[in-house]
């Protein structure tokens, strides 16, 4: 019963993290694209005048897609057509089962590892499950009975299969270094220091493997420069061309969920997962009180500063729009002042002396935060690359996958083996 409750709550946390990240990523994609392209980006959707810099748009999108008519081609394969988006989404979500998002949390004297399923073959599980997502794409492209969708499905299949191999090869180097297929072990191994000052992150011990892996991940997630399955200027939208309404939304969300996986995998394998460099778990626990105090002071100062900025907007732009949007700065001041008050209240309670339970909780909190920060950074990298680079052609993609990345991956394995044998 305890185990069930524990697992369910961890699944719930992971699900909330991913779906929250999907919403944030959609916002980040739009605002990031706008930032890169020198424009403003979405800022129209509002709740009672509060626009949250465009964060309301994903919510508006969800409602739009939910209530939209589901237009489907008449001569589709009904079963597969309906199944495809669910397969894509389910597979995207199930990869997270083995990704550790923190070390452990002590609840009622019991240490709970912060990973949904700590499989001893976690790495193989990821490779296996990631490949399954192809089925949804192929089904979607084929069942819709559209030629562009069909071409997109073919592209997606060949691309995902070719890049699976180099991805696996890159990860094998990592497995050799850390000596385990278990993701918690790999992350634990990255907590050490190399030569006493360098974090023993995957990217430090496997630089070439990292380059191969990140390329393969971009290809697996169908993001630019490898977004051939849905290349909008050639085959219009590829495999999800004939999908509309919530079925399209599932494909759309799955793309972002894949991005979150991609970012989480890069962070876990090559950037130490939840590990904070130079601050291993015992140090975190020992200094939890000090860190919490610093954090609270930081939050207090930052929220007061932001509240002051909003205050200026209240003064200067009292009747800027002449409608509900004028309420935005007032509510902003209120929100940040409440946050500042919370931080001040926390400081009054003496956070420098929080006891062992509090220390454990705070250490976990910092580690989960570290993981999330890395996740967001690599997700931003996806967006950054997408709005900078053009896309490859089909045959160039295959060339890169089979003739460049697989030999490089093999060379990486050999070099790793030699270094491990002789150094």
């Amino acid at each position: 019963m305890d185990l069930l409750l524990e697992t369910l709550s961890k699944i719930g946390f992971m699900f909330a993290l991913i779906m929250g990240m999907v919403v944030v990523l959609i916002w980040m994609e739009r605002k990031g694209a706008a930032f890169i392209q020198d424009r403003t980006g979405p800022n129209r959707a509002a709740i009672g005048g509060v626009r949250l810099a465009g964060l309301v748009h994903p919510i508006a999108d969800v409602f739009k897609l939910l209530f939209k008519e589901d237009v489907a081609p008449e001569d589709r394969h009904r079963g597969l057509y309906n199944l495809a988006p669910w397969i894509v989404m389910t597979i995207a979500l199930s990869t997270y089962a083995v990704i550790p998002f923190g070390d452990h949390l002590t609840v009622a004297g019991k240490q709970i590892p912060l990973v949904v399923a700590d499989l001893n073959v976690g790495l193989l599980y990821i490779l296996a499950v990631a490949g399954l997502g192809t089925y949804g794409v192929v089904m979607g492209g084929w069942a819709a009975n559209n030629k562009f969708g069909f071409l997109g499905a073919i592209r997606a299949t060949s691309q995902m299969i070719s890049y699976e191999i180099s991805m696996g090869l890159a990860l094998m180097g990592l497995v050799m270094v850390f000596g385990s297929l278990q993701l918690t072990e790999i992350v634990a191994g990255q907590g050490d220091l190399l030569f006493g000052f360098l974090p023993r992150w995957g990217v430090v011990v496997q630089p070439l493997g990292f380059v191969i892996f990140i390329t393969a991940v971009y290809a697996e997630t169908n993001r630019t420069p490898f977004d051939l399955p849905e290349s909008d200027s050639e085959i219009v939208a590829g495999y999800h061309l004939e999908y509309s309404s919530m079925k399209f939304a599932l494909f759309f969300m799955a793309e972002y969920a894949h991005m979150v996986i991609g970012a989480a995998l890069i962070a876990t394998f090559y950037f130490g997962g939840f590990q904070i460099p130079w601050l291993p778990r015992p140090v975190l626990e020992a200094h939890a009180g000090t860190l919490l105090t610093i954090k609270l002071v930081g939050v207090l100062v930052a929220s007061l500063a932001i509240a002051a900025l909003f205050m200026r907007r209240v003064r200067n732009e009292r009747n800027k729009f002449g409608d509900a949007r004028d309420r935005e700065p007032v509510l902003g001041v209120a929100f940040w002042l409440v946050l500042a008050a919370g931080a001040a209240g926390g400081l009054l309670m003496g956070p420098w002396n929080i006891g062992p339970v509090g220390a454990d909780l705070m250490a976990t909190f910092f580690q989960v935060t570290a993981f999330t920060v890395k996740l967001v950074f690599f997700a931003w990298l996806f967006i950054w690359v997408r709005w900078t680079l053009p896309r490859f052609r089909y045959d160039q993609l295959m060339y890169l996958g089979w003739k460049v990345m697989i030999p490089l991956g093999l060379a990486n394995l050999v070099v790793t083996a030699l270094v491990m044998a002789f150094v």
Binding site: A33, D38, F148, L389, P390, R391, Q396
Partner: protein
């Protein structure tokens, strides 16, 4: 599968097992609603998977009988219709038409008007080339250059709005001059400032972002090669012809207006990244033409003479004697020709337009065979067609 078709430029040959395996070609309708056909062009493709066996452009979705309309309106009234041919560079279309009418009516154009014509036409050319770069980048999957190019085009639209009153369709030139003089609010200085900014800041930006991007070069070099002979056979003109390495430009080789007074070069494709006449060559020709247009604008504005900007009263119709005249000008997309037969009345007897995009597009049928679908998109994008001009 038809055995006689051989695709050689990807090392793909008709193989023996093809006759055993029953397979058929895929008929693919690209357009008329497709993001990469730059308007309402329909490309009827026969492909074997991704490789194109046959491509047939189907045009006519935007036909507006403009040439027939010309027979029903007088010479000046038709200028507004010329704007709508190549709607991305309308001033160059005006230029082609008014030159023909001036030839027929033997009208002299004051020097100030010629300078203003050149400046606005070159600004229009830059605007058109910016869109060509932008949409070509978009066809290759690069989104951001599109927005950057449109940002700069916006500046040109603002400048042209100040002198001509319109933002998209200017109706700026009239036989014997231009419609409006330079506005009094520092327009010349603003144009010069914009031109300098474009040359020194923006074009290097595009070059680093798109032109010399490795993926972009991979996608466009050695793709869709139009040889010199093919370009001649199909009557290609403009950047398409120059991309194939032919140094021909009406502005230099058959000078009209005052182009022979200005110092500029004619960029040609040199096969820097692959073969002469590939998509990258056509692209880089446009980038370099923007630089040359900037040079022309600067020279024309620095030597802008004082004087009248038109010889005719605006409201009076042009008197054209009976006869025929053909004028050719270098529009943004190639050689724009107007052939007018006049019968001495207020309206022309016949007006035939030789539009550059129409001729340039035909080459797709030959060069497109054997390319992949993505390459075909690159080819069509590099031709820089405008459907308003193809269908008229």
């Amino acid at each position: 599968m038809t055995d006689d078709v051989k695709i050689t430029n990807r090392g793909w040959e008709s193989q023996d097992h093809a006759s055993e395996m029953k397979s058929e070609l895929l008929e693919l309708n690209m357009g008329p609603q497709h993001p990469a056909t730059h308007g309402v062009l329909r490309l009827l493709l026969q492909t074997d998977g991704e490789i194109v066996y046959k491509v047939t452009p189907v045009v006519g979705y935007l036909h507006r009988c403009t040439e027939k309309i010309a027979e029903g309106v007088d010479y000046k009234q038709w200028i507004v219709y010329t704007d709508r041919f190549d709607y991305l560079a309308p001033v160059t279309n005006n230029h082609a038409y008014v030159t023909a009418v001036e030839k027929l009516a033997d009208l002299a154009v004051p020097e100030r008007a010629e300078h203003l014509r050149i400046v606005t036409a070159e600004l229009s050319r830059i605007a058109s080339h910016l869109i060509a770069l932008a949409t070509f980048g978009l066809d290759m999957g690069a989104w951001t250059p599109l927005l950057y190019c449109f940002r700069e085009r916006e500046e040109i639209l603002n400048l042209l709005e100040r002198i001509a009153g319109g933002r998209m369709l200017y109706n700026y030139m009239v036989p014997g001059g231009v419609r409006y003089d330079v506005p009094k609010d520092n327009w010349v200085a603003d144009v010069l400032e914009f031109v300098t900014m474009l040359e020194n800041k923006k074009l290097p930006d595009y070059n680093t972002l798109l032109t010399y991007n490795k993926i972009f070069i991979e996608r466009t070099s050695d793709v869709g090669i139009i040889s010199k002979e093919t370009a001649f056979d199909y009557g290609c003109t403009g950047p398409v012809l120059r991309g194939s390495g032919v140094k021909f430009d009406c502005r230099r080789d058959d000078p009209y207006s005052l182009y022979d007074r200005f110092d500029f070069e004619i960029p040609v494709g040199m096969g820097e990244m692959g073969t002469v006449g590939d998509c990258w060559d056509r692209y880089i020709v446009r980038v370099r033409e923007i630089e040359q247009s900037c040079r022309i604008i600067r020279q024309a504005l620095e030597t802008l003479p004082e004087g009248p900007y038109g010889t005719l009263e605006l409201k009076k119709p042009v008197k054209v004697p009976a006869g025929a005249a053909y004028s050719r000008t270098e529009a943004a997309k190639g050689e724009m020709g107007h052939y007018i037969i006049a019968d001495g009345g207020a309206k022309p007897f016949r007006n035939k337009v030789r539009s550059c995009s129409f001729c340039n597009l035909q080459v797709v049928e030959k060069v497109g065979v054997g390319l992949m679908v993505s390459d075909l998109v690159a080819l069509v994008g590099s031709l820089d067609i405008v459907l308003g001009e193809i269908d008229r």
